[in-house]
Every structure is written in C-alpha cells, then in structure tokens.
C-alpha cells in the first residue's frame, strides 16, 4: 500500500529521472525500480563470472606464452568485473551470498552466450571480438543508466572491455591470415558465435518483457533492436577486413536505412537456451556449484579464525 509520504517521494523520484539525475543507494526509490535493478545488475554480474568458464577452458591450452598471459589476464578482468558488479548490486540491500544462491537455483539468469561450448582455440578469438564487442555496445549505453553505482561500474568496466575485444580480434586476424586449417577454424568459430552474439541483446523490442519499465526508469537507455543493429553495423566491415565469409547470407547494406539488413534470429533456440536447455547450461551451473562447495571448508576456516581472533581481543581487553 502506498502512503501519502510514498506518493510524495514517488513524485520526487520521477522528476529526478526526468532531470537525468543519478539515483544513489541511500535515495528513496520505488520497490519495483530496486527489484528491476537487482535483476539486471546481478544478471550482469553472473554473466561476468559464468563467462570465465568458456574462456577458462582454453587457458591451459593457449598456443603461446603471450596468448596464455593475455587470455589469463582477460579472464581475470572478468572476475574483477563480476566482483565489482556484485558489490554495486549489494548497495541495493541484498548480499552476495543471496545473489549466488539465486544463480545456483536458477532464479537468476546470465548471458545465454556462455551456454555454448568453446570448441577450438578460435573461439577465444571469436568470443573476445564478438561477445565482448556486443557487451561493449550494450555497456556504453549503460554508462548513462539512472542508478549511480551501476553507471560508474560501466564506465570502469568499459575501459577494460575494449582491450578484450582487441585481443580477440587480433587472434582472429592471425588465424584468418594463417594456414588453411587455421582460417577454417576462424570461420567456424565466427559462424558458431555469430547468432548467439546477436541474441545477447535480448528479444525484439516488441517482445521484451522488462524493456518498457526499464526504459521509463532510464535503467535501460537504448532499445534491444537498436543496440543489436549498432553491433551488426560495426562488425560487418570487420568480417570483411578479416576476409571471412559472412555468417548470415542475408547480411546486406541497406542504402536507405544506412544500416545492414540481416536474417532473422532463431528465437526458438534463444528461448530454449534462456530457459536452461542450451548445450552447456547444466555444465556451467554444475561447475559453479562444485567450486563453491569445494571452497566451503576454506570459508569456514576463515570464519573460525576470525572468531578466534575476536575472542582473543575480547579477553585482552577484559
């Protein structure tokens, strides 16, 4: 039930959104705004963390020492992004362990792209180039999101993402200009990752369940379809530059629109993966649960040690 006071606060809040002011953790905010943010920010945090697995899959098999170092530091960055986003989400009054529980129980989602397997080394190129590339397009728009801690997290994270995309594109360049086998590997990885990358932007604007409110609250600033178009437009010339075949035969420059036309995404696959039946959904969550469970004794030891230290301090004081 809304009280008179709430109604007043609501008006103030609405005005602040209109005025492009940032909402900060201690500010009044409608509960639905808070819940919407928790959903989106935690989903983003989980994506960073689960995204460590498909790339982690190649750290021990990277083909050169330099590639290994670059890949490892990229995955490490993603862990940092996850950490940073978890604490930004915690500013909304929820704990990291609640968030992790929601991930493991399946109530919280993460980017569906990470439910696809990384089959060859070229996937490290395709992911950095396409997946981080798509993430950047989305995250740049989120630098203007209405919630202060989220906006600041995006600014910080975007800086590192461009390095991620560059290293991915560099891997693709070397492979595309390499032996026939390497070129084939690059083509295959791009073909496999292309559609899932486009799916990262979510359903069409007309079908997007959360978009309306998110746009109104300026949590989301640019629509799914617009972001997707932007990504396609910036990526197609890069595919040409690499000398690879287009992953979608319908990709064609549309002079009138000043944009590329493209084929339709397989939405059945999209919903299937979102709802838990992608090739790696089960594996990703199983891995996360296993690591978490195996670490439990360490966390217990840390707690026990802290308690002992506190008890010692108490007796010293007494």
């Amino acid at each position: 039930m809304q009280t008179v006071n709430d109604a007043e606060e609501q008006l103030k809040f609405d005005q602040r959104i209109i005025d492009e002011q940032k909402i900060e953790p201690t500010d009044w905010m409608p509960d639905a705004y808070r819940q919407n943010l928790i959903r989106q920010m935690s989903q983003h945090a989980h994506s960073e963390v689960i995204g460590m697995q498909p790339e982690g899959n190649w750290i021990t098999r990277a083909p050169t020492l330099r590639r290994k170092a670059v890949l490892l530091s990229k995955v490490q960055d993603e862990a940092g992004h996850g950490l940073y986003l978890y604490s930004a989400t915690e500013s909304l009054g929820i704990t990291r362990s609640d968030l992790i529980e929601a991930l493991q129980s399946g109530t919280a989602k993460y980017a569906s792209i990470f439910n696809y397997p990384t089959l060859t080394w070229a996937d490290m190129g395709a992911i950095g180039w396409l997946v981080d590339g798509a993430a950047i397009v989305n995250q740049i728009s989120l630098q203007r999101t209405s919630y202060g801690p989220y906006a600041r997290a995006m600014v910080r994270i975007c800086k590192e993402e461009s390095f991620h995309q560059r290293q991915g594109y560099e891997i693709m360049t070397v492979l595309a200009k390499g032996s026939a086998e390497q070129k084939q590997m690059a083509q295959d990885a791009m073909n496999r990752n292309w559609w899932p990358s486009l799916m990262m932007f979510g359903p069409h604007d007309s079908d997007s369940a959360h978009s309306g409110k998110s746009m109104k609250w300026k949590i989301k600033r640019v629509s799914n379809d617009q972001l997707r178009q932007k990504f396609i437009d910036q990526t197609v010339p890069q595919i040409e530059e690499l000398g690879l075949d287009m992953p979608d035969p319908e990709l064609k420059w549309n002079e009138e629109r000043g944009s590329y036309d493209s084929g339709e995404i397989n939405w059945e696959e999209f919903y299937q993966v979102i709802n838990g039946s992608g090739p790696c959904n089960y594996q990703r969550i199983k891995h996360h649960k296993k690591a978490h469970k195996e670490g439990e004794w360490v966390r217990e030891a840390v707690r026990a040690y802290q308690e002992k230290q506190n008890a010692k301090k108490q007796t010293n004081v007494a």
Binding site: G56, R61, L72, W297, V302
Partner: protein, 253 residues
C-alpha cells in the same frame, strides 16, 4: 667460456621451466577458487610466473643465437627435456596444498632472488630484481593464508598437515646443486642454493611454530627435475599445454 655459456643457457631454461610449470598449475584455479577474490589473486601470481618464464626463455634463446623462440622452448620440448624442480609441477590438490606450496616457494624465492640480484650477469640480475618484488608481494598473501588455515577449523588444519607431509618429499630438491650449476655459482653468475637451506628452514619453522605446526629440518631428498626425471604428473600437463603447437606445428598463433 663456451662451457659456461652452455651452462648458463641450461640454467636459464631450468628457471624458465620452474616458472612456466608453476604458472600452469596456478592458472588451473581460475574459476575454481573458494572466493572470486582468490581466482583473481591466484591468476595474478600465475601471470607473474608466466612473465618470468618468458624473460628467462627469451634470454636463453638469445644466447643460443636465436635458433629457437621462447615458444619453441616452452612448447616443443618433451618431459625428459623439461628441467624444472619437481615441487613446481605437483598438481594443485586442494587449496591448502596450493597455498602451502606457494608459501614455501615464496619464502624460497624471496631469499634466492634477492641473492640472484647480485649476479655478475646484468641481465639475470635485472630479471631477479623485478621478480623478487613480485615474490615479496606473493609472500604477503600466502603467509596469512597459512595462518588462517592452520588455526581455522580442525579440517583446515588437517589439510595443512597433509600438504606438509606431501611437500616434505619435494622441498629438499630446492637446495641441491648440480655440478654445472656449482661452476656457475663459483663464477658468481648464479646463487649456490645449498647456502639458502638453513635460512629457509629457520624462517619456515618459526612461522609454523606460531601455529603450533612443524616441518622436518632434514627432509627427504627426491631429486631429478634438473635432469629431466619427473613425477608422472608432468607428462599430462605438457600434453595439455603443448597440444596445439604439437598438432598443428610450425604456425603463427
């Protein structure tokens, strides 16, 4: 002189192998740690060791006259040609084992690299100067972990004890010199590792004693790493690590 050059290359590749093998093990923790913070921290240490491996290999490759690259050295030698000290290649086991090994090596490298800074070879001295700073930082992290685990729960203490038991077999080799290495040490190019043992023992013993734990002074001395005699674990690591370079040889990556 020719001999010394050969020995120096051998020495550099040995240190590169120590680093590459340990970095591989540490990187296995990525997405598997007890805290996300630990995934980051262990990756960081792994990155430092990859950096070291590259510096040692690059220098070795130059001395060889650029017949091979750092990657040829890392990816195109087999088990018997790898010359790391065995402690570096042991599987990560659990978090306690990883941290106890790290602590032992951090203490070792802090002492070893500090002395290596005095090498009459400027390039080696420079690498050591960079690396010793890293190891001091690593030690600042590993030490509190040992304390927390040793004094945390019964389970964590037991796991530390198991790690100590296993490592008892492999610490001794850190302080055993090869004949060719002694020659280099006589010329002040490298450090006589034998001389570090007493200090290492007293530092580790007094730290463990704070938590009422012990590590034997006279350790079992399994040796072989510098001569390419390894545990059975190394072959599996190399087959994973080298798979691309071996299955598609001679390409740029």
């Amino acid at each position: 002189m020719k001999d010394n050059q050969q020995n120096l290359i051998r020495f550099l590749i040995g240190l590169g192998d120590d680093s590459v093998v340990l970095s591989h093990r540490l990187s296995e923790w990525c997405s598997n740690g007890p805290y996300l913070e630990e995934d980051i921290a262990l990756s960081n240490i792994a990155l430092d060791y990859i950096g070291r491996a590259r510096m040692f290999y690059q220098y070795a490759a130059e001395l060889e006259g650029d017949k091979r690259t750092e990657d040829d050295i890392a990816f195109l030698r087999n088990e018997r040609e790898y010359t790391n000290l065995l402690i570096h290649e042991l599987p990560i086991n659990d978090f306690a084992f990883t941290m106890v090994r790290q602590y032992f090596l951090d203490v070792y490298y802090c002492q070893y690299l500090l002395q290596l800074c005095e090498s009459t070879d400027e390039r080696i001295a420079a690498i050591a100067a960079k690396a010793v700073k890293e190891s001091r930082y690593h030690l600042k992290r590993s030490k509190p972990w040992i304390k927390q685990l040793a004094e945390g729960t019964d389970e964590s203490r037991e796991r530390v004890q198991l790690a100590l038991d296993e490592l008892e077999n492999f610490v001794g080799e850190l302080f055993l010199m090869e004949e060719w290495e002694t020659q280099l040490a006589n010329d002040k190019l490298v450090v006589d590792r034998k001389t570090l043992e007493a200090n290492w023992n007293s530092e580790v013993q007094s730290f463990l004693a704070e938590s009422d734990m012990k590590f034997p002074d006279s350790k079992i001395q399994i040796r072989g790493g510098r001569n390419g005699i390894h545990t059975e674990h190394l072959g599996h690591m190399l087959s994973e690590m080298q798979y691309l370079q071996r299955s598609m040889p001679g390409l740029e990556w």
